[in-house]
Symmetry: C2
Subunit: 349 residues, 2 copies
């Protein structure tokens, strides 16, 4: 097995947090082999305005100026078409919709997407991207739960795509065969991110194992197979968004009867070697560069030129053990695959 | 709301452990209002012989002699028809099949029930009960996982019932609508236990919350509704088996990347008030005595006479907070519903 060259890997869904946690994890984007990070806006408070997004971007650049940060605003009722125009001018790329933000009504909640149509109209006009967390809220009355929340969301994806056919939409962190099929059935303006961990985990892995617990939860073996298939196929509208989400180690390791553990899996610092390892495991290593760089860059209009492409070289290794924990100041974060072996590593010059 | 009298509650599926843990939890059967415990044999080593079962029964009686302990043997290839006859003579009531014990072959595993047919034949002859942990092992190749492991087991239930029509069989801790329907479709020799916690929890409750994690895992809202319906219906072949399973508090609260938390929910010390609370919550309080005493006793031929019936009185209370933890020696166990309110309590004389 020989070396693999990947041009400028881009992670189109990552959580970089704030304060000390941001200081710890932001450099891990580069450590993991990536030079572009599409940064989630779910801070406290959330990033809802252009000026907040620019200030956050400046914070991240002050931590690691070598990475390109693309910003997305948190969709909320305060977001106006005017703010969209302002955001576009400032270079902000997208708007992220979380289910919680649209579930002010009791049942169904996401029906209220229609209240955002003027915003989406403005986004479509200026060619911004709508990032969808594609789950509807659990509801015992309708037998809606964390395992069918994504399939039940897909009607909303189709409605939005139909109402805004030229609006670029990304269904984030797809976990089900139903989601893969839904995105495939849409036109060229609809894409889909897939995380590293959902290519490996199934429901059995997070049952009683909080370090494998994330939202959306990993689904069934057949769903995982659908994610793998679409990557093997080299479908250009499916690309990496790691959803790498750091949490302090104790909030991952420990529950009390009244407080469960945090949802999130942290893959940033090992992301490119992990992707090579996983894609190799299911026969898709030849699709690595498309999946982790070209496909997403093309959809997001972040294509590389021969001048700005930054090659990252991976080489096969017998066994490279993943760190058990990353520390800085008083923060500690346990990565996915902690202590386990990867068979690829980045050649550092 | 007035008092409720329940004659001699019987828990037809409970884990009482060994050593210090047994000393802590065995008295909780009585504390929870129960005078009969059908005791699981999955100790280390498992209870596979009559003499082991009798010794274990004596250990439990030495801890609390006021409870009647019914014993069941762990099904393994060592169990012979002769041992069945011996067990029957010694008053042992049943044989428990765990999926692991029958999954020596790689795929499907439980096909190998047929190797036990001579044992089942002997059990049928002497009228012992077969207790089934009704799940097949997870297998990614067949898309078998912890959420469909029970429905996929049900063909085995039907095969066993057909092969041994007069063998009394209990499908333990049913969690799905499919299981309820399968048991209903069987003849009078097939019954089903239901736990307290599966009447309350769904998959959303144990995702990231290890104190709600047990096997079989709680399923979907519609499955929970099926369990509640069959109790509301007062179906006499569905009765309580708590599957109360104590684990040391740290093994419930804490995961590491290589070690998940223990599966099991502990309900013994609050069981009768909890059952009243839960059945009241879904409109089945009038079925309480049938579900927690009469139905199971009838199936197990443990009917009460007017002489030996021991009435337990429940009274409604505004709020009775469940203990946050039970301690003894170096053992600590967190009960289900820890710190939460129950609206019924046992009248202690």
């Amino acid at each position: 097995m020989s070396e693999i060259i990947v041009a400028s890997p881009a992670d189109f869904h990552v959580h970089l947090r704030q304060g000390n946690m941001a200081k710890l994890v932001t450099p891990h984007v580069r450590l993991g082999g990536f030079s572009l990070a599409y940064v989630m806006p779910n801070l406290k408070p959330p990033i809802t305005t252009t000026s907040q997004a620019l200030a956050y971007k400046a914070e991240l650049e002050s931590i690691d100026p070598t990475v390109e940060y693309l910003m997305t605003l948190y969709l909320s009722p305060d977001l106006t078409p005017d703010e969209i125009f302002k955001a576009k001018e400032a270079g902000i790329v997208g708007v992220k919709s979380y289910p919680r933000g649209v579930t002010t009504n009791s049942d169904g909640g996401i029906e209220s997407y229609e209240m955002y149509y003027p915003v989406f109209e403005a986004m479509q006009r200026v060619d911004m991207v709508l990032n969808l967390h594609g789950e509807i809220p659990s509801d015992t009355k309708t037998n809606t739960h964390i395992l069918n929340a994504e399939p039940k969301f897909l009607t909303h994806l189709h409605s939005l795509h139909k109402a805004f056919p030229t609006l670029r939409i990304v269904l984030e962190h797809a976990t089900t065969r139903a989601a893969v099929e839904a995105v495939k059935a849409c036109g060229s303006t609809v894409a889909c991110t897939i995380t590293a961990h959902h290519l490996e985990l199934t429901v059995d892995d997070w049952a009683g194992q909080s370090f494998n617990f994330c939202k959306p939860v990993a689904k069934f073996p057949d769903d995982r197979e659908a994610l793998r298939e679409v990557i093997r196929e080299g479908h250009p509208r499916f690309f990496l968004g790691s959803d790498s989400a750091p949490h302090p180690v104790t909030s991952k390791s420990t529950s009390t009867p009244t407080q469960g553990c945090a949802a999130g899996i942290y893959t940033s610092p090992i992301l490119l070697p992990l992707m090579a390892h996983l894609l190799e495991s299911f026969g898709a290593l030849d699709k690595l560069e498309g999946f982790v760089s070209n496909f997403g860059r093309r959809f997001y209009h972040q294509e590389l030129s021969t001048e700005n492409a930054e090659n990252v070289i991976l080489r096969p290794v017998g066994a490279c053990n993943v760190e058990k924990e990353y520390h800085a100041e008083e923060q500690g974060v346990v990565p996915f695959w902690a202590g386990k072996e990867l068979h690829w590593e980045i050649v550092r010059s």
